[in-house]
């Protein structure tokens, strides 16, 4: 090999390596944005069926002794009627890595859905079906509906803030006030912000406006338009 040939040989090797790396990075982006979503879609489908089955079979819970939530299992459905007709997800109990891959996760230490205190739910913003992708579009007054076995809980958005990832005070029963006894029924959503980053957290606060007992043919007004088309 002459020197010129050797130089060409090395240059080609480096070029091919760089192109390969570029393709791998692109594949990884595709994996994060779409392939993870396929996984969550299947999990959501299974959780939804499980939830419907449990709700249909189990007797309505005694309000004084509600059934405990099981980590990793579906506990409710969350609807965002202002974000579109099909924007609803099964909420899973727990906020571990594996729980959040299945869907939005309920903090086990936070209030039960519909209860006095603060119901805290976290969800992915860009990966794993990105359930909370568009929560930044929620405006004060918008409805977020949580559906349980026996109730529709319609929460009204009150505020949206961006905080540091360490701002655990947003999850307190009275947000921002450690140790205070709650009197309101609140809902707090957390996700990462800005999109594709984990620099901050986007927080949506909401307050329960109307609990509605579930009956056949009855849907909360906020969902009426969405459900009936």
């Amino acid at each position: 090999m002459t020197t010129a040939e050797r130089v060409r040989w090395y240059a080609r090797g480096i070029g091919q390596t760089l192109i390969t790396l570029g393709v791998v990075v692109l594949l990884f982006c595709g994996y994060e944005l779409w392939v993870t979503g396929l996984y969550t879609e299947r999990q959501q489908h299974d959780l939804g069926r499980g939830l419907d089955r449990t709700w249909a079979q189990a007797p309505a819970p005694d309000p004084h002794h509600p059934l405990p939530y099981q980590v990793g299992k579906g506990i409710a459905r969350i609807w965002f009627p202002t974000l579109g007709k099909d924007v609803h997800y099964v909420v899973v109990q727990g906020v571990g890595r594996e729980d959040l891959k299945k869907g939005p996760g309920h903090y086990p230490t936070s209030a039960r859905i519909g209860a006095v205190g603060n119901v805290v739910i976290s969800g992915h913003r860009t990966t794993y079906l990105a359930p909370f992708n568009r929560v930044d579009e929620l405006r004060p007054g918008d409805a977020i509906v949580l559906e349980t076995q026996t109730f529709w809980y319609t929460y009204t958005v009150t505020a949206e803030t961006i905080v540091k990832p360490t701002a655990v005070e947003v999850t307190y029963p009275v947000p921002g006030h450690l140790g205070e006894k709650p009197t309101q029924r609140l809902l707090t959503l957390t996700t990462c912000n800005p999109k594709y980053s984990a620099r901050n957290r986007l927080i949506v606060h909401a307050v329960l406006s109307t609990p509605l007992a579930k009956k056949p043919g009855v849907v909360p007004p906020a969902l009426a338009k969405v459900v009936t088309g």
Partner: protein, 55 residues
């Protein structure tokens, strides 16, 4: 490297194309099923909770 692999694939042009496609599929599958799921937790952009833990 790609040239080297191509030269060492046996058979006719069609067979070699098939083998190349098979190799490519295997590599992509390895990335999607093993490598990426392993890398992902080391990256920060899936953290959505405020506990300081991962999400």
């Amino acid at each position: 490297m790609y040239v080297w692999i191509w030269r060492h694939l046996p058979g006719s042009l069609l067979l070699r194309l098939l083998q190349a496609l098979l190799l490519l599929t295997a590599v992509v599958a390895l990335l999607m099923l093993v490598v990426f799921p392993w890398i992902e937790p080391q990256l920060p952009w899936n953290d959505v909770t405020v506990t300081g833990g991962s999400g």
